[in-house]
Amino acid sequence: MTTEAPQKPTQSGGMRFTNAAANYIDERTSISGLVKEVGRKIFPDHWSFMLGEVALYSFVVILLSGTFLTFFFEPSMTEVHYEGSYVPLKGIEMSAAYASSLDITFDIRGGLLMRQVHHWAALLFIASIGLHMLRIFFTGAFRKPRELNWFIGFVLFILAMAEGFTGYSLPDDLLSGNGLRIIDGMVKAIPVAGTWVSYLLFGGEFPGTEVVPRFFTVHILLLPAILIAALGVHLLLLVINKHTQFAGPGRTNDNVVGVPVMPVFAAKAGGFFFIVFGVIMLISATFTINPIWNYGPYDPSPVSAGTQPDWYIGFADGALRLAPPHLDWIIGGYTIPMGILLPLVVLPLFLAAVAFYPFIEAWITGDKREHHILDRPRNAPTRTAIGAAGVTFYAVLWAAASSDLIATHFKLTIEGVIHGCQALLFVGPVVAYLVTKRVCIGLMKKDREIALHGFESGRIVRLPGGEYIEVHEQLSEHERWRLTSFTDYKPLMIRPNAQGKITVNQRLRAVASKWFFEDRIAPVTKAEIEQSHGDHH
C-alpha cells in the first residue's frame, strides 16, 4: 500500500517539486529505505580521517581529466614526422603517441592543463594513499574487524602505482622510454624465462611497437575496472564496519560519536571534493609537470642527466642503485644476476610484510575482540616503532633514487651518497626503531604523570613551612579520560596445550609477544588517582 507523501497545505513550488520527484523515484527504486539507513549515519570528525577522502577525490579528478585525454591521445607507436607548433621538434621522427601528446600540449586549448591536472592528481592520489595507510597503521585501525579492508587498501595502493607507471609510459618520451628500458633489463634478469617474458611484454625485441597500445589498454580499461571494483568493496566495508574513532569522553567501543551524513558530513565531504579538485587545478595552472617537449621522443641512444621514475616508483629505482657491483652469479654456465634479483626479491618481501601486518599482530596478541576505538600511536610503542623503521627503510630507498641530484645539490659525491644510503638502509631502521620506541614510552610516562598529578600551572606558592611548590592543575575528568583509556597487553605466558606439549607456534608467539609488550606502561587506575590526590594539595 503506497500513498503519496503527505503534503503540508502551504508549500513553496520548490518543495512541491522535490516531494513529487522523491515520490516518483521511491515508487520505482525503494530509495527511501536507503535514505533512512544512511541519511543520518554518524561519521566521526577528525582531520586524519579525511586522508582516504583525498585519495578518493583525486581519483575522481584523474578519471575526469583522463577521459578528456583519451579523446586526443593516439596509443600507437607508428612513426610519424611532427608537424605541430613546437619549433624544436618540427620534422623530427617520433611515434604517433608522442606526437599526439605534443599536440595535446601545444595545439589543443586546455590540453596542457588537462595533462598537468591528470599527472599532478596521480602524484597526489598515491601520496595520499600512502599517508592514509600510515594513519591507519599508526592508529591500529587495521585491527579486527578491518583486517580485510587493510588488505584491500594495500591492493589499491599497488594498483595505483601500476596505473601511474603505465600512464606515464604512454607518451613514449625519452624519460619514460628509458624507464621501460630498465624494466626490460630487470625482466630479462629473471632466471630461465626472463628473455621470453621480455618478448611477451614488448611483443618482440625492445622497444617494439606494441608496448604503448598494450599499456593503454591496461591503463584505461583493466586497471581502472579492477581499481573501481576494489574501491567499491573498500567503501562498502567502511560503511558496514562504520568508521573508527579516537578515545574520548562519551566515546566507547560500542558507539560512534560525530556528525550525521545529512547535512553536515555531506556538505563538508562534498565541499572537500571541490577543494581538492581546486587545489590540484591551482597547482596544474602554475607548475610544470613532465615537460615531454624537453625530453624528445624515445630513442635508445640519448639519455638525460637526472633520469628518475615518478616518486612512487622511486623506492624500486633506489633499490637498484644500492645493489653492490659484480653480483652476477654464473652457475653451471647460466647467469643469475643477483644485483637485480636481490631488489626484485627484497621489495616484494617488504610489501608482503606491509600487506600481512594486521594478521601478524593479531596472531601475536591473540586479541579476537572488535576494536573500534583507535590507538594513540604512543600507546602502542612497538607497533609505532616498527612503523617508523619501515618508513625509514622505504625512505632510504626512495632517497637513493635521487642520489645524483642529492650529490649536485649538497656538493657531495655520488659515490658518497650511494655508500651512505647503503649503510643507512641497515642502520637507519634500527636506529629509528630504538629512538621511536623510547620516545613513545617517554610520552606514555608523561601522560601518566599528567593524569596523576595534573600539569604545571606556573603558579608558585609558598607554604607556611617556607617550602616553595608549583601548583599543578588537575585535569578535568574529560581531559583525563583521553589519557587513561587505552588497551594494555601483557606478554604471552607459555602454557602447555591439551596434550601437555609446548608447540613451536606457542614459543614463537611468546617470543614475539615479549618483544612487543615487555616494555610497557600500564594505564593509570582509579586507585592511583585517589592516592595521588591524597598526596597533593
Binding site: 625485441e205 562519551g250 560500542d254 556528525v259 577543494i275 643469475i336 597487553y489 600500564a522
Partner: protein, 354 residues
C-alpha cells in the same frame, strides 16, 4: 580502555554479540568510568544573529566567486587562443588563465560549502550505537540453515563425484583464456636476436643520427663520438637495432690504454669503441669524462673505466661493456672487424651459452 567497562547505558552491544577472546590484553579494571560527552559549546553564529548573517553572506559570497570563476574560464578559453606567432607563450597564457579560473570556480564551491557546514549548520555531535559486526545468533542460525538446506536439496556434500568433477571443470575453464595470451609474444626464439647486432665485418662506424662515416683522423684526443652502424637508417626495425648497436667511440693516448693480449688489436691507434648499452639494465652509458677516462651511466650510477677494458669500477653493474673490434678501411674510415663477441646489454639466463 577495558572493553567491558565504561560503556554507555545501552550496554556493550558489540561485546554481547561477540564474546571474543581478548588474547593477552590486560583486562584489569582501572576503575575509571567514561565521563560521557562534555557540554556543547555554542558558536558565535549561534549566539549573535549579526554574525550569523555575516556568515551567510560569506558563504554565498564564495558561491558567487565560483560563478565568476566558471564564467571567466569560458571567457579566457575564447580570449586566449593558441597563436602561431608565439605558440609556447600563448599556451602558457591559456593554461594559466584557464587553470586559475577553473580553480576559482571549484574552490569557491568547496570553501563555501565547508564554511556553511562549520559556521551555520548544527554542530551538535550525535551518538549512534554500533551493532556487532558478527551476525546475531538467530541470524547466523538462519544463514546456516540456508546452506544446510541448499546442501541437502542439491546433495553437494553427499554427491562426491558431482562435486569433485564440478571443481575440476571450473578450475580448468580459465586455462584457455590464459593460453590465448601466448601470442602477445612473437613466434620466433628471442635468444638468437639478442646475440646479433647490425655490426658485421667492414660495416662503417657512422655519426648518430646523421649516419655520416667517421675517419680515424676525425677522432681527436679527448673526444667522444656517438656511433651507429652504417645502414641503420634503412633497417626495418630501426629502434630495435639501434637499441643493440649504439656505440661510443673515444680516443685515448696509446700509453694510457691498458689492453689484454686477446683484445690488443681491437682498437686502432688509441681509438676504442664500446657498446653504449649498460650491462646493468640497459640505459645508454653516455657520460664520458675525458680526463679520468671514466664512463658514467646516469640511471643507476654504474661506472666503467675506458682505459682498462671498460671494467666496472663502481655501481650495480656486473660486467664490463662489450668492446667492438674496429679497424680502418682503405679510405681511412673506421670500420668494425666483426659483430660484438658477446651479447650487449643486461645479463640474462643463458647469456654465457652459445
Amino acid at each position: 580502555m577495558a572493553d567491558d567497562h565504561g560503556s554507555t547505558a545501552a550496554g556493550t552491544a558489540v561485546a554481547k554479540v561477540a564474546p571474543a577472546s581478548a588474547g593477552t590484553a590486560a583486562i584489569d579494571d582501572t576503575g575509571l568510568v567514561n565521563p560521557g560527552e562534555p557540554e556543547h559549546r555554542l558558536r558565535v553564529t549561534d549566539l549573535d544573529p549579526k554574525k550569523e548573517r555575516l556568515a551567510e553572506r560569506r558563504v554565498s559570497g564564495f558561491f558567487f566567486l565560483s560563478i565568476i570563476g566558471s564564467i571567466l574560464a569560458v571567457v579566457f578559453y575564447v580570449l586566449f587562443p593558441i597563436t602561431e606567432e608565439a605558440p609556447v607563450e600563448s599556451v602558457r597564457i591559456s593554461t594559466l588563465s584557464l587553470g586559475l579560473a577553473i580553480a576559482l570556480g571549484l574552490l569557491g564551491i568547496g570553501i563555501g560549502a565547508v564554511h556553511w557546514a562549520k559556521a551555520l549548520m548544527s554542530d551538535v555531535e550525535l551518538t549512534e550505537m554500533r551493532h556487532g559486526t558478527r551476525g546475531t545468533e538467530a541470524t547466523r542460525e538462519k544463514a546456516a540453515a540456508v546452506f544446510t538446506l541448499g546442501n541437502k536439496e542439491s546433495g553437494f556434500t553427499r554427491r562426491a563425484l558431482v562435486r569433485n568433477s564440478l571443481i575440476g571443470a571450473v578450475a580448468l575453464t580459465p586455462i584457455p583464456a590464459v593460453v590465448l595470451f601466448r601470442d602477445l609474444a612473437p613466434a620466433a626464439e628471442p635468444n638468437d636476436l639478442l646475440r646479433h647486432t647490425l655490426w658485421k665485418k667492414d660495416v662503417r662506424l657512422t655519426r648518430d643520427p646523421s649516419g655520416t662515416p667517421i675517419k680515424a683522423s676525425d677522432v681527436t684526443y679527448g673526444s667522444a663520438f656517438h656511433v651507429i652502424p652504417e645502414g641503420l637508417e634503412e633497417s626495418e626495425h630501426y629502434l630495435e637495432e639501434k637499441a643493440k648497436a649504439a656505440v661510443l667511440v673515444m680516443r685515448l693516448r696509446p700509453e694510457d690504454l691498458i689492453e689484454s693480449e686477446e683484445k690488443k688489436d681491437w682498437s686502432y691507434d688509441g681509438i676504442v669503441a664500446y657498446s653504449k648499452i649498460c650491462t646493468h639494465v640497459g640505459c645508454p652509458v653516455a657520460l664520458y669524462e675525458q680526463q679520468t677516462h671514466h664512463l658514467l651511466c646516469p640511471c643507476h650510477q654504474s661506472q666503467f673505466d675506458v682505459s682498462d677494458g671498460a671494467r666496472v669500477i663502481f655501481g650495480p653493474a656486473s660486467r664490463p661493456l662489450p668492446q667492438l673490434p674496429i679497424a680502418i678501411d682503405s679510405e681511412g674510415y673506421l670500420i668494425a672487424q666483426s659483430d660484438f663477441r658477446e651479447p650487449v646489454g643486461p645479463s640474462f639466463w643463458d647469456r654465457e651459452k652459445n
